[in-house]
């Protein structure tokens, strides 16, 4: 009998303690943060000035960063973030050169493998002392490889317009 009573009391006490601890020691997590992070490219390129997309999303959620922070995301991501945060922003101020792609100048690539190690999406292929190349479908145009290249063989160029990607221009307003 004593055992039953003491164990029940212990259970209730510990349960209450856990409940209280969960309430007061909870780690603050903003659901907005996760939603914002889902909108960002997730390539952790660091062009926004934050370590990665998670940190950028946190700053956005706290209101410390502007929705225009993500260069690879361009206008589309800016628009999505602004809509999520309920902010109206002037999109004409956002520079959007359209999606960019990295290209390797094959004649000056030395095959040093430095670029392929930093590519966040594994878009660069090539072995040591072989010319490297970039898989267009996987490149996000973040530019992380540019500064690692010792011979400046990598450059960014706008994604070429192809037939299925061509869009009718908007009619000029009279």
């Amino acid at each position: 009998m004593l055992a039953v009573v003491s164990l029940t009391a212990l259970g209730i006490a510990l349960g209450t303690l856990l409940g209280v601890a969960a309430r007061y020691l909870a780690v603050e997590e903003n659901p907005l943060e996760a939603e914002l992070q889902a909108l960002l490219p997730g390539s952790q390129c660091g062009q926004c000035g934050f370590v990665g997309c998670a940190q950028a999303a946190a700053a956005l959620a706290r209101g410390e960063a502007s929705p225009t922070l993500c260069p690879p995301g361009g206008r589309a991501v800016t628009e999505a973030i602004a809509a999520k945060l309920g902010i109206r922003i002037d999109l004409s101020a956002v520079r959007d050169d359209g999606p960019l792609l990295a290209v390797v100048a094959e004649e000056i690539c030395t095959g040093c493998c430095r670029c392929s190690k930093v590519c966040p999406t594994d878009a660069i292929i090539g072995a040591a002392k072989q010319i490297h190349n970039i898989i267009r479908e996987a490149c996000t145009g973040c530019g992380a490889c540019l500064e690692r290249c010792p011979t400046e063989a990598i450059g960014l160029m706008p994604m070429p317009v192809t037939l299925p990607h061509w869009i009718w221009p908007k009619p000029a307003v009279a």
Binding site: G42, D122, T140, L163, W166, I167, P171
Partner: protein
């Protein structure tokens, strides 16, 4: 037709432009003199581009496979002349952008020697799957302009057990008469093709919808179908866009195809009359799709009419055949309402081009755009029951999502709204722009998602590598320690001995 009946039958949607079909429709069919070379784009259809199977310098026969289909929705390309493959590279696409498109160029040798064909005497003894396979191998696609691979539609029709085949002889676009010509000149081929398709999809009846402005075609088709009670010829009122599948289905069967649904889901399947004739040739004669009838018309053409031309010939060849009065100010593939603007005359004829229209500057002049006066003419004309004025206003202000809210995705780009607009607002261009922009946004989203997956996979890989390295290092260390311990144990033993 009585007044009451007319009031009852006349659809409430659409427009009735001057059809300009005659005298081109009444001129007998001409055959294009064989061009010196033909250029065959690898992408002449909806779906994946075909993959070349010939090499530069290779001799090919007429009807020989040049490029095979790739993926589930695709179509092969065959040689329309016998000769030598001289290039596989880019040519100007029949597209307003004037961008390049991969194509195979064949230099004609003048012999026009056919490859050995495999004709079928009795297609109705074949399994439906075999008919679909042969149709796919012959590269037959929807010749009304949609260029959807015909065999893929057969499979869809079988899967959704379609009961009725609708044969589209509407040809509602002004100026065009290639379908009219094929129904007048080879009605037996069209009817036979329709019966073969019925067999392939398991349909019980075929309704051939022909606009009542083509009495000769209706008469010829009625004669050809007289012995086949399952093929019914149904004249429909001439009203643009009657040749659009959703409008034709509604007029013939009274069924409305829901938004985001395919015609097969209401139990019907639509094939163009020219597609039926192409299926007939593919099965009965074993001939792949290498030529088509194309209407050459417009104010700049001296002798407008229909021409049987090999695919891949240049628009300039077709215009030279029919004569040009003055330098055309605008060239189009297809009709004036929905046709494709061409950058110049050096683009190849593709499977989906039912007409080449050459207009003079006077014909193409459009008055300056004015402001929208909200008269609602476009709303009355829209065959899909949309509000073009609202959609255009939202797109003009950059609010694409607002336009989507007005069912932009249901717009069939028929151009009725822009045709009736008293302010000459280029409504369809707004919609095309918005559709392209939305598609680009969707592509960007998919790309971002793919990038994120790749980045996550890379992080996981790096983590795993680091863990494996650490494990390996730990194991090595342990081995070394063990070896040292063994050596340590052995040494004292040595010393003692």
């Amino acid at each position: 037709m009585g007044l009451i009946e007319r009031l009852f039958r006349e659809p409430r949607w659409g427009v009735h432009p001057d059809d300009h079909k005659r005298p081109a429709a009444d001129a007998p069919l001409r055959v294009l003199p064989r061009p010196a070379r033909v250029h065959l784009p690898l992408q002449q259809h909806v779906g994946g581009a075909a993959r070349p199977v010939v090499l530069v310098g290779q001799k090919v026969l007429k009807g020989q496979l040049l490029a095979q289909s790739q993926g589930n929705i695709s179509a092969p390309i065959h040689a329309p002349v016998s000769g030598t493959v001289t290039a596989i590279g880019e040519v100007t696409a029949p597209h307003p952008s004037g961008l390049g498109l991969a194509a195979i160029t064949v230099e004609a040798d003048g012999a026009d020697r056919w490859i050995e064909t495999d004709p079928v005497a009795d297609p109705f003894a074949l399994a439906p799957e075999e008919i679909a396979r042969r149709t796919a191998a012959a590269g037959v696609v929807g010749l009304g302009g949609a260029t959807f691979p015909a065999a893929v539609k057969f499979a869809l029709g079988r899967r959704l057990s379609v009961r009725t085949l609708i044969v589209n002889g509407g040809e509602c676009e002004p100026y065009l008469s290639s379908d009219d010509r094929i129904m007048r000149d080879c009605p037996a081929q069209v009817v036979d093709g329709a019966r073969i398709i019925m067999h392939a999809i398991g349909a019980e009846s075929a309704l051939v919808g022909i606009e009542d402005n083509k009495p000769e075609a209706i008469a010829a088709m009625t004669r050809a179908a007289a012995t086949y009670p399952e093929v019914k010829i149904r004249p429909v009122p001439a009203r643009y866009p009657m040749g659009s599948d959703k409008q034709l289905i509604e007029t013939l069967t009274g069924k409305e195809v829901p938004a985001d649904a395919r015609a097969a889901e209401v139990g019907v399947l639509v094939h163009n009359v020219s597609t039926c004739a192409a299926v007939h040739r593919a099965i009965r004669l074993g001939q792949p799709l290498v030529e088509r009838i194309v209407t050459v018309n417009g104010g700049a053409v001296t002798r407008p009419g229909n021409v049987l031309a090999p695919l891949g010939c240049l628009v300039d060849d077709l215009l030279a055949c029919c004569g040009v009065k003055e330098k055309p100010a605008r060239l189009l593939f297809g009709g004036p309402m929905m046709g494709t603007l061409l950058p110049h005359g050096r683009v190849p004829l593709v499977k989906g081009a039912s007409g080449v229209l050459a207009f003079t500057a006077a014909e193409t002049a459009v008055p300056a755009t004015g402001p929208c006066i909200r008269c609602g003419s476009c709303t009355r004309a829209c065959p899909m029951g949309l509000l073009p004025l609202e959609m255009a206003a939202h797109i003009r202000a950059g609010d694409l999502d607002g336009a989507v809210g007005y069912s932009l995705s249901d717009c069939i780009s028929c151009g009725c709204c822009a045709y009736v607009c008293p302010s000459h607002i280029p409504l369809v261009q707004y919609f095309s722009h918005a559709k392209g922009e939305l598609a680009a946004r969707e592509r960007a989203r998919l790309r971002t998602e793919a990038g994120r997956r790749l980045a996550e996979a890379r992080l996981a890989r790096l983590e795993r590598d680091a863990k494996e390295k650490a494990e390996l290092a730990a194991r090595r260390q342990a081995e070394r320690a063990a070896a040292r311990a063994r050596a340590g144990a052995a040494k004292p033993a040595e010393q003692t001995t």
